[in-house]
Amino acid sequence: MEKSSAAIVPDTPSAERYGAMTVGTWRWIGTWRWIGTLALIAFAIALPFTLSNYHVFELTLVMIYAIAVLGLNILTGYNGQISLGHGGFFAAGAYTAAILMHRYGVPYWATLPPAGLICFVLGVLFGLPALRFDGPYLALVTLAMALATPQLLKYFDTWTGGQQGINLAKPMPPAGLGLDRDRWLYLIALVALLIAIRVAANMLNGRTGRAWVAIRDHPIAAAAMGIDTARYKTLAFGTSTLFTGVAGALSAIAIGYVSPESYSLFLSVSFLVGSAVGGIATIGGAIVGGFFIQFVPNLANDISDAAPWAIYGLAMLLCMYTMPHGVVGSIRSWLTRLAERTTVRHAAGGRSDQNDEGWTS
């Protein structure tokens, strides 16, 4: 006769386990997180004063792309709706800013809210019919939009300047700050990025974010629990395009030029790739994605003159093999495993040989 069954341990619910982990290890990590974040922001503010103009400009673009990718993360990562068309919304924001500045003399900083608003509305308008589509079907619909964008931009040439595009004056920094143009733009982008991260974090960690994730993972159960799936999905679309649209407006201001060729399908694909490499369901991953989009193509060119895109493609493959959840996603998993190992011994009443399944994001 085998061991007696007297020591039957009731199943410890996962939430309790996770609670133990939260109290124990995350608090420790949380403090470090605050210190780290502030240090990072200080570093980011100081950085442009140590680099050349061109590098500052590149970093400005990194931050702009990060905002755009953050928008995509919200839609595809947290809400599970794939978009191959975010380049189109980026273009919408860029051209809104460009037309307002060029035709109506609106000062550059005042173009951001309208760009965001228009892109929000566009996103909602797009998101409503998109409710009917899922998976590869949604991919096709968004892909069609990405393809249509350069065509439409060329077609409505009285507004958009057609093939030639629109030239814009780069903004002058306010007098007395002692900043030149590039550094002023950098700081604008930095502030925009920080605001974007804050807003995104608030939404994603709150009720809206939880509803989005519930819809992503268990749409039927979410609806059964009373979550208005249609409303939240459309909201996700609009929020996402708002972010990307503002990024587009910033890019028009920073680069000083918009033209249909800049907003091709490749841009949309880049956003998706940057998203995946950074970590699609993360906020920090958007910044990694911004770096990837800005720098890896140039690096690829340096490595191989003859077949640079092959190197870019190879970089994509290697990133996905080593970090299938993206850089930030992988860091998260690693931290969770670390937390588990140090906390499980402290969890009340648990058998030491029974571990919870690892949390994956």
Binding site: M1, E2, K3, I8, V9, D353, Q354, D356, E357, G358
Partner: protein, 235 residues
Amino acid sequence: MAPILELRSVKAFYGQSEVVHGIYLAVEEGGMTVLLGANGAGKTTTLRAICGMVRSEGEILFAGKRLDRRATEDIAGVGVAHVPEGRGTFIGLTVEENLRLGGYTRPRNAPANMERMYGYFPILAERRRQQGGALSGGEQQMLAIARALMMEPRLLVLDEPSFGLAPRIVEDIFKIVERIKKEERVSVLLVEQNATLALELADHAYLLETGYVVASGSAKALADDPQIRRAYLGY
């Protein structure tokens, strides 16, 4: 007779959790052994460990050969036929195609085997061109058993064949299983929650509770044990 299947100190894992804690289990050749226990006891996980579908530790011996490090498809090839929980029917394929798939590893005798299966389960012969998904639960269970037998197995592993079926159908299926045991000369490892029926048919029984074997012996001995009667047989 030597056992055809032997588990020695086998631990089995469901994801990261260890749910079966170092058990011993044996199936006599030509006999029927039943694994009893409540929900969550680890019965299905044990069967999955035998067939290489979940992570396990310890030794799993089949006719003297080690199974524990091998892939599921290899295990199927050496003569262990697993009828999984939920039947595992290929719902998009016809009954006949389902059977042909069962015969994938024994192609030479497949036509003859198929006729024999239609003999055991005439309803399958009637529905041979219908989609697997169109069959009722009981018919799918018969199809799953037939599919397993097409492999000419030495060991038939049955995971909760009575699950979700009406009592009349369950009786029919068990009658067929008994007939198969005699005529096909295949050893059977059966997992069942329906303890009464199982103990009537089986030769040996094991009782699993939260991953431990808490009782084992001849089926009759377990059926007569008052504690087990009260806990699992309801009287």
